[in-house]
């Protein structure tokens, strides 16, 4: 794989980048801060004995005007990428979002609108060379309207529907789209929250994601237990969802 990773300097993105770099795939990092990028690039370079230095460019999901240039830089460095992974996004608890309307606007814009715009740039480039892989992090929170993730979940619900449609529309042209739906994962994003049962580790999620990309699967629940949990949740009647706080 020649993979571009937006958000590859932290959390699950960092774990995916490491997994790919260690097995010899080429990686190009996109993130918001130069110092963070250079440190992560050095980390990935050191993880494989025969690796050329890992390239990187600035890219911020809040600045869609920079998307094209960032992907062009990745294309040049990798000699044409064939995989794009998006782990970046914003998160806050429902309470925090209800208390901060401006952050709510930023979060839904980044997680839905700007992520879709980024994916449009990416999938057009992939399609011109006969397809490839696009893996984007949505969330189990997007599977059903739920009290504790009303706003965050809705941004991910929109993204999940977009990714499903992309898969339907371009599968025949060689583009494999993977919608990743992680449950609770112990990363910097969720630090400070009490981990529920079945909380995952970033390395475990990264392993699942890379395997699903290799196998060109369309949807991945990870850790796997969440597929079962969300199956139940999706089928619960509305009057039950009104009562429970899940």
């Amino acid at each position: 794989m020649k993979a571009v990773i937006l958000g590859g300097t932290t959390g699950i993105g960092r774990a995916i980048a490491r997994r790919l770099a260690e097995r010899g795939d080429s990686v190009f990092l996109l993130a918001r801060e130069v110092d963070d990028l250079t440190r992560s690039a050095e980390d990935l370079t050191a993880r494989h004995p025969k690796r050329e230095s890992v390239g990187h460019a600035l890219c911020d999901l809040e600045r869609p005007e920079g998307f094209a240039a960032a992907l062009d830089a990745a294309d040049a460095a990798l000699g044409g990428f064939d995989a794009v992974i998006v782990t970046a996004g914003l998160f806050a608890t429902q309470d925090a979002l209800e208390a901060d309307i401006e952050f709510t606007r930023r979060l839904v814009t980044v997680n839905y609108a700007n992520t879709v715009v980024f994916c449009e740039h990416a999938r057009k480039r992939l399609l011109t060379r006969g397809g490839g892989r696009l893996a984007v992090f949505s969330s189990v929170a997007g599977d059903r309207g739920r009290k504790p993730v009303a706003i965050y979940g809705s941004s991910k619900a929109g993204l999940s529907v977009y990714l499903e449609a992309l898969d339907h529309k371009f599968h025949a042209q060689g583009l494999s789209v993977l919608c990743v739906k992680p449950g609770f994962v112990k990363t910097g994003m969720t630090a400070g929250l009490k981990p529920p049962p079945f909380a995952g580790e970033p390395e475990q999620v990264a392993r699942d994601v890379v395997r699903a990309m290799d196998r060109r699967r369309p949807v991945l629940y990870t850790p796997g237990m969440w597929a079962l949990v969300m199956l139940v949740i999706r089928w619960l009647p509305r009057f039950v969802m009104r009562k429970i706080n899940f």
């Binding site: 932290t10 959390g11 050191a46 993880r47 004995p49 910097g188 630090a191 400070g192």
Partner: protein, 443 residues
Amino acid sequence: MNPRNTPTLSGWGRLPAPGVEKLSEDLERLTRGAALTRGLGRSYGDSSLPAKADDLVAGSRMADRILGFDPETGVLRAEAGFSLVELNRLFMPRGWFSPVTPGTKFVTLGGMVASDVHGKNHHVEGCFGAHVRSLRMRLADDSIVDCGPDQEPELFDATVGGMGLTGHILEVEFALARIPSRWIHMESERMPSIDEFLAGLGRAAPAFPMTMGWIDCLRRGRSMGRGILMAGRWAEASEAGELAPRAAHPLTMPVDLPNLAINDLTVAAFNALYYWKHLRRRATTLVAPDPFFYPLDAILEWNRVYGPRGFTQYQCVIPRQAGAPAVREFMDLLTKLGGASPLCVIKDCGPEGRGMLSFPLEGTSIAVDMAVSPEIQSIVDRLNEFVIAAGGRIYLTKDRFTRPEHYRAMEPRLERFLAAREKYDPHRRLRSGQSVRLLGDVA
């Protein structure tokens, strides 16, 4: 006991203290205003626990990036949360190993510096701090400085073995050691008594770069201190062959065992089995590094075997000048006091390093796990009184029960450390449960 809903932190000995740790990949930002940094929580006692519940404890384990590796010299620079597990996984296949490794690989580089860890090769390589070239630190006044053996040496020497009380370690640079293969050539020998054990350790030290021994600490009388001496070196490529050691698949201890699980009878049975498993008096084998260096890491969360009461480790070093009789007397006292445990380890230490509070000194180190019981304080007190009289000292990384007056009596270097602390943290912003207990910091 804490009310159920109060969040707590605990060391490896599982005695909790109220507090929470904050985690972030950005350790530099996280440590601003923090009272303490904590790695993987493998220190046994209260050295990684907050002095009070609302002190900010910065968890370093997500700050785990390699910042540079030179394949010519083996010099590695990494963020302080980079762990020995990762180091071994990535670099052992490439022919490099940490110059010094403690008895668990679940430690961070920052923790290895703060404890100035030692290993089976202490008599040859010294402590981990002896191999550190540079540290980047956030000091109590929130400034960020680099230090090393020749740069800000006072800060460096106070930090190596300084239990995190001089500043937050952000980055560590040190040189890895070349290894000729991924196997250990080990010679082991059953030792019937403490005197033969000490003589055996003395014989093995000049012949082998790595030595240590396991002792059956329940035996009294003539077989007191019987056990198994293990000496090793890295096997040459020609001895080791092509095969790579199998990847370890550790089991996890799923539940707390009841408090009674570790008692004199079960320990005696375990110890007898372990001792006689070594049927031949002497054996030479090729072993993988993991079971050689980290036998206990094969069971994750093994600390749960002591049950909810928790446990501590008593580790001290008896100086060479006190001689073999002092070690024999110590073993006599230890076995008389009881506190049965299957884990008792003996090791020859080399000369003291430059870390102001670094644990090892030339002599014999003995480490023993003990379940927490109503008698634990008096047991530790009695052992400490002996160690003070013998001119030895204890290892802060393991300690939870030593009294401040005992610590002062065994640590003539403390004044120098406190002077450095006065200089770099005059307001004692950095503190831990241990620094409150032993150094009189205000909680």
